[in-house]
């Protein structure tokens, strides 16, 4: 439900139009140079299809893991006072500001063969992350997780606590309050956070190529493929692949918006 139509001040309208143009112009540039006639052939390429499938699988896993790990963390940060909470809150944002390539190196130093946790992981669980699809998911989750934490924490903090208190006085146990009151109230923010996390994971490049390497079918997601096409001087193919990435993400985000956000 939208409010009464507002007439924007001229300056605001101008700035808004400028911002929209700034975002749209590069896309127009891509569309302008896109090899529309051979787009089908570029996309029928088995390498491109493998990369697209891998991108979708990895990014969906990363979004799911970000939700699974991010929601509890966001809830604790929002509701449980503990010493060092401000520090933890700041640390959660680190993957947002860290250059992704450095994030990839950091992941190697933590989960790599010579890393802090890599040797026990391999000895006890036979898990090796670098150069594997699991590693690509870990890299994407590392950069995507903060989006869930930040949006969910703001929602948990901003929620009207009286609904939860009412549920409790009516005899609901804490788990029931969380499931039936807190989470539904925060749903718009959770969906937005998950969508942002997924989109960030889908476009992830630096941490993935550094931590998981580039192995076709295992870790070569679409952004890696695009980069290597550019390196090889195949601009048309790189643009075609980027357009696919763009189309898929816009389609999913628009669908999400219609399904989840409009009614709210």
């Amino acid at each position: 439900m939208s409010g009464p139509r507002a007439r924007p001040p001229a300056l605001v309208a101008l700035a808004a139009a400028g911002a929209a143009a700034f975002l749209l112009l590069p896309l127009a540039g891509l569309a302008w140079r896109a090899p529309w006639s051979s787009l089908g052939a570029e996309l029928a390429d088995p390498g491109a299809r493998t990369a697209l499938r891998l991108s979708l699988v990895c990014s969906l896993w990363a979004a799911a893991l970000s939700l699974a790990a991010g929601l509890p963390l966001a809830w604790v940060l929002a509701r449980v006072p503990f010493p060092g909470r401000r520090l933890v809150r700041a640390l959660v944002l680190v993957p947002l500001v860290l250059p992704p390539v450095v994030g990839g190196v950091a992941l190697l130093l933590a989960f790599g063969r010579r890393g802090l946790l890599g040797p026990p992981l391999e000895a006890w669980f036979s898990v090796r992350l670098p150069f594997t699809t699991a590693g690509a998911v870990v890299a994407e989750t590392f950069v995507a997780l903060p989006f869930v934490v930040v949006t969910a924490e703001a929602a948990f903090r901003g929620a009207d606590r009286r609904y939860e208190e009412a549920a409790r006085t009516l005899g609901a146990r804490p788990g029931v309050v969380l499931r039936r009151v807190t989470l539904p109230l925060a749903r718009p923010a959770l969906v937005a956070g998950a969508a942002l996390a997924w989109a960030r994971a889908l476009g992830e490049f630096g941490a993935t190529i550094t931590f998981a390497g580039n192995a076709p079918g295992r870790t070569s997601t679409l952004p890696l493929e695009v980069y290597l096409e550019l390196e090889a001087g195949r601009l048309r193919s790189a643009i075609a692949l980027s357009l696919v990435l763009l189309a898929v993400s816009v389609a999913v985000l628009v669908a999400l918006r219609d399904r989840w956000l409009r009614a709210l």
């Binding site: 076709p216 290597l228 390196e231």
Partner: protein, 251 residues
Amino acid sequence: MRRRARPAAAALVALALAGCGGGGGGSRRLTVLAASSLTEVFSELGRQFERAHPGVEVAFGFASSSSLAEQVVQGAPADVFAAADEASMARAVAAGRARDPRVVARNRLAIVVAPGNPAGLSSLADLARPGLVVVLCAPEAPCGRLAAAALDRAGVALEPASREPNVKAVVAKVVLGEADAGIAYETDVRAAGARVQGVAVAGVDDPSLEAVYATAVVAGTADAPLARSWVDFVASPAGQAALARAGFRTP
């Protein structure tokens, strides 16, 4: 408060603009786009060149030869282009953006391993040992193309754990211990110092398996004589000596 903020903002903008202009103060500026494997040696040659040409400032852009070729073809403002492979240079020449390329050095492949060569590798065939984690350059990069050709000629079938975007990334994976071995250039192994060790292998001394470095003047340079003298300098005895010290082979 509000009034005082304005001059401050104006000063900031002026500063930012001045920064963008890169205040060379009327000096001549030479922009060299060069393959990343030339980073160390070209930086050193740049200092020598500036000493020999007072008032000249040499600015470098290091990246993979193929992306630099793309920049040159798209008309990036540069004076000299130095590529690590003939294909990239040929693209710039074919587009009419680079003139008279001159070959200045060659580079040979080597196996790169951890110090002490713990796996005891001595040939390309050893790389196919089961359980060995091997990384190569991506086939899009010159080092990947050459490595694939060398393996092919040696009859070695190899599924690398990763095809890294450039040769420095291959060395980095060995330095970090993520990979047991990789194929890189001799000069990269030398540049990495004591953190890795190179294994010279038979079968990579064929000229067709060597990286060929060429420099050329970029068409449309604002200072053709200066660009020409850089190309001459790299080919001069002093330039060749610096390249040899870095492990490059003579053209």
